[in-house]
Symmetry: C3
Subunit: 270 residues, 3 copies
Amino acid sequence: MNELIERFAGRLEEIRQRRPVVHNITNFVVMNFTANALLALGASPVMAHAPEEVEEMAALAQAVVLNIGTLSTPWIGSMFLAARAASAHSIPIVLDPVGAGATRFRTETARRMLQQLRPAIVRANASEILALAGEPTHTRGVDSADTVAAARSAALELARRNHVVVSLTGIEDYVTDGARTAAIANGHPLMGRVTGTGCVATALTGAFCAVEPDPWLAACGALIVIGIAGELAARTHRRPGSFQTGILDALDEIDRAILQTNARLTTALP
Amino acid sequence: MNELIERFAGRLEEIRQRRPVVHNITNFVVMNFTANALLALGASPVMAHAPEEVEEMAALAQAVVLNIGTLSTPWIGSMFLAARAASAHSIPIVLDPVGAGATRFRTETARRMLQQLRPAIVRANASEILALAGEPTHTRGVDSADTVAAARSAALELARRNHVVVSLTGIEDYVTDGARTAAIANGHPLMGRVTGTGCVATALTGAFCAVEPDPWLAACGALIVIGIAGELAARTHRRPGSFQTGILDALDEIDRAILQTNARLTTALP
Amino acid sequence: MNELIERFAGRLEEIRQRRPVVHNITNFVVMNFTANALLALGASPVMAHAPEEVEEMAALAQAVVLNIGTLSTPWIGSMFLAARAASAHSIPIVLDPVGAGATRFRTETARRMLQQLRPAIVRANASEILALAGEPTHTRGVDSADTVAAARSAALELARRNHVVVSLTGIEDYVTDGARTAAIANGHPLMGRVTGTGCVATALTGAFCAVEPDPWLAACGALIVIGIAGELAARTHRRPGSFQTGILDALDEIDRAILQTNARLTTALP
């Protein structure tokens, strides 16, 4: 296990040295927090959504992150343009299907993006994964054991069918490429009390993708980092306002030694 | 009086247990702060504005909050769609006519929304209420005694004419349904130095509406909570940046005992 | 030198007394931080972008700030409308050509705005200034000595050709109207780890423009203030999350004495 954590630590150092450009087309609620999280980690965030420039911007980036949190038809059009430019340049795409399952528009858009844009990674929670897989959801609050099991099974199936890494977050995170699986037990309940911690997990996944060619490892590294950031922030901040600030500080603080001491990763390889 | 505060405390506990979904169509400046304030209070914020999904999203919510802070014609269209879906499902609507009186577009939009969308509550400051009522305004800075008196009179008139609760914030807040009135003396001057504290008051009003069927009580409860949050934050934070963080922490901290000790409410019943 | 700092201190006091309205048409990422920075300084931020109201809003303001960070064709249209209304009322315009040089759309839009809207001040970094001047850029990270020299030379040329004050930020800032030049050595490296510190510098430049008729002085005053704010914040906050909060607190704290002690300004007058 130490070997994998060593690899994540190396990738984190690479992010800080190379400062990869992560092009985000994301939602209005989390743009500031996401950009600051990427900067705190060491990456270079760019936000741009105009159809006139997204192809050019995506081609300049080392990863493209698409997040449908406040989706609209014009923004979806820009996401498709950016993704196609990214694919043409072999730049990895990370998809966050925020709210899939809540409305038909979200569910259908998320499925269409998964099928047509060929993201390297989908980062989502249990109800979103179930919606992507076409299974009944309506979960809210802490997921039941049944929901977690159903979502993991759907994640495996989605990963195999779509050749995508599924990065399923929850009390315990679960990352699979359809063959390898990882369970990550980092994180803190206060993360659910701050808007955008899931979106930040997705954005950091983009940063790891920019330096790590194996998307399963990139997804695992990012979830460990955001999970530990939540744990570090919760040590000194007990309420959500200061906790959010603490997450940004922790993303800046995390290093090889902190990763080695705190990472809680279990893998199952085929 | 203790009886009313007890009721607000019970509603606050209900928000934390039931975590009602509050669907916000709000302005770009405050989306993050508003979502975090709702989460800190205990509610479940949702932001969605696409015409393809707002009706479905509004119907899933327990309250709908419409805020015209960065209004545009397409977003107004979505607000109308969401409001009509909410009304069809008897879901309460809270309106924040940000900047009414500053431009004709805002004033006319705010009036049209008040008349056609039948909000349960309008939360606004003195100049916005005067603009809605068709009276001359041009107030800026601390409202004069004359302005306060004129705005309260306009609030009463608006409440009666439109069958709406008017939640008028200022140094001392004033809430009326045209018959009952309440004055709330909670709050702190630093709240005027942080963008979006008014918008947060509106969003929290939505959260209270989701669990309190009497909109006059919902409006009073929300203003007491945000006012006390400002007071608590000001005890440890003397400057606006850390004060904003402190407001979120305080919204998480407020409980029955804090409400009982700090609420400053005066009511006049018919 | 003390005389200039005295003048900036007087202007800062004027901002706090008169609370000028600064109308921002800016990017989604920094709207909240920008509005809070203007409030912390003492100004009155307004954000509005609908074509139906931007002319009226701009005419109510004492300065208009245009920032193309998340530009799109409809928003550019609104920026042109607002700028023309501002010019018609002799209200100063400050332009932030975020990302000029990164995509053709940005470069061309920024040049068009510079030439057609006659801003009083352009606030930008080295690569943006080089892009505006039509010179090759592709700088990222800390600017080399060569890049700094090239950007200053381009700034002088742009200032003369376009009758604009160029406010070029970097390790050492450089402000010129084509005749006078100033070098400002305030600031802190952590400012590059928080999104929007450049955009905040631009917005504060708008606030100074609202009370200082000489745009070269307005630009210098604003850069000294944001630079010192960064230094003050870095004294107590060593990581980017809390540092961002600290910048807002520092903008509220800065006064005449702090300016006199900390300003690091060198001028060259013709």
